[in-house]
């Protein structure tokens, strides 16, 4: 069995992709993705790192000036690349466990997100 070029489409991965695809042009930081995906905070970083490694995602630090003006530490923002968004849609469509089923499993946020 040959390994696919994409990530393993686990339920959390699908939830993260779904959250990111909701507004592909929007930059989101970690806790935001947690809240949108309804996943605990520790779960998303490995997924984001894997997606970033595959080139589906890109991330960058927030401008220090912006963060300081709001009196908080700077955030790391994540955004789907154009290619990544396209691949994510295809991967979600081909996923053996449809995301709609996940909604039944997880009717609300799973906690950890603020």
């Amino acid at each position: 069995m040959t390994r696919k070029s994409g990530p393993r489409m686990t339920l959390p991965t699908q939830l993260v992709l779904r959250a990111l695809l909701a507004e592909p042009d929007r930059e989101m930081y970690g806790l935001q993705i947690c809240a949108d995906a309804g996943l605990p905070s520790g779960t998303i970083h490995p997924i984001l790192a894997r997606l970033e490694g595959l080139g589906w995602l890109e991330s960058h630090w927030e401008e220090t000036v912006t963060a300081h003006s709001e009196g908080r530490p700077r955030r790391r923002y994540y955004q789907l690349t154009t290619d990544g968004a396209e691949r994510a849609r295809i991967a979600l469509a081909q996923a053996t466990t449809p995301v709609s089923a996940i909604a039944v499993l997880r009717p609300g946020p799973a906690g950890g997100a603020v």
Binding site: G42, H45, I47, G53, R72, R74, V114
Partner: protein, 292 residues
């Protein structure tokens, strides 16, 4: 002698706090010229007359009181000098708590946990009742007075049992009072206490309290920060700095979104638990690894 008789005789040897107070009262009566502020200590009510002696005059006076504690022999205790700077009911409560705590320590030494728990409950109820009557300003002043005075350590150095008991009692009293202040006056921060202590010329206490206050005002639980440091250390060295900053940023957001210590710890714990997975993801032979 049966076991019960022996136990009963042991209880008989434990002096009641009021008995101790009575001895103290007698002592003060005999030394009225040295410390004229205390007039009489009758039962649990200390009646004080107007203070006609300046605090400066009393500052160098160290109360020494003796009492009979059959289990440990006759004792002679010195109360912290600073207690003499308190006035009126504040002084009463301080002494009350010190005596009661010494009594608790004695119970603990003699009979162990069961009596200790019962008496703790009694102490708590009594203290609540007394503190209810206290004026808040005096209450804070009392806390400052009892906050680990140097004299406790002097007493410990003397290696006298009675002094050690009193020192422990005073220390317990301090903790009880601080806890009660937190309970009754959550909006009165430690800054107020620090200011009070500074006015009382105990700068080392003020420093400690301010430090605690600042840590509290920053909202971030230090234990959660430590856990995040552990999580970051589990990651590959190239990515450590990035994730340290990212985790801290998220912890800050958790804290400032109203997350208490437990929520922060939960966040940090989740990061630690998932750190091996993150490490695996970062080290995976991907076409383009995540840039630090």
């Amino acid at each position: 002698m049966s076991v019960d008789d022996e136990a009963a005789s042991r209880y008989d040897r434990v002096p009641d706090v009021y008995e101790l107070s009575g001895v103290y009262s007698a002592y003060l009566s005999s030394h009225r010229t040295l410390n004229p502020r205390q007039e009489a200590f009758d039962g649990d009510v200390l009646q004080e007359k107007a203070n006609d002696t300046s605090p400066r005059k009393n500052r160098n006076f160290n109360t020494v009181f003796s009492f009979s504690w059959p289990s440990f022999g006759h004792g002679k205790c010195s109360l912290p000098k600073r207690l003499h700077l308190t006035r009126g009911i504040t002084h009463t409560i301080a002494l009350y708590l010190a005596f009661y705590s010494a009594y608790l320590a004695g119970l603990w030494a003699i009979d162990g946990a069961a009596w200790m728990l019962l008496t703790c409950l009694s102490l708590f109820i009594s203290s609540c009742f007394l503190i209810y009557r206290l004026h808040p300003t005096r209450f804070r002043r009392l806390c400052g007075q009892l906050a680990r005075p140097r004299h406790i350590f002097d007493a410990l150095d003397d290696s006298r049992v009675a002094d050690v008991l009193l020192a422990i009692g005073t220390w317990i009293s301090n903790n009880i009072i601080v806890d009660m202040i937190r309970y009754f006056e959550p909006k009165k921060t430690l800054h107020d206490l620090a200011a009070t202590v500074r006015r009382m010329r105990l700068p080392h206490l003020a420093f400690n309290m301010e430090g605690r206050s600042e840590r509290r005002s920053s909202l971030i639980a230090p234990s959660a920060g430590q856990l995040l440091r552990i999580a970051a250390n589990l990651l590959p060295a190239d990515h450590r700095l990035r994730f340290t900053e990212e985790f801290r940023s998220e912890l800050w957001q958790v804290a400032h979104a109203g997350g208490g210590r437990l929520q922060q710890l939960r966040y940090a714990f989740q990061q630690v638990i998932r750190a091996p997975f993150l490490r695996h993801a970062l080290l995976a032979p991907n076409p383009r690894n995540a840039s630090p």
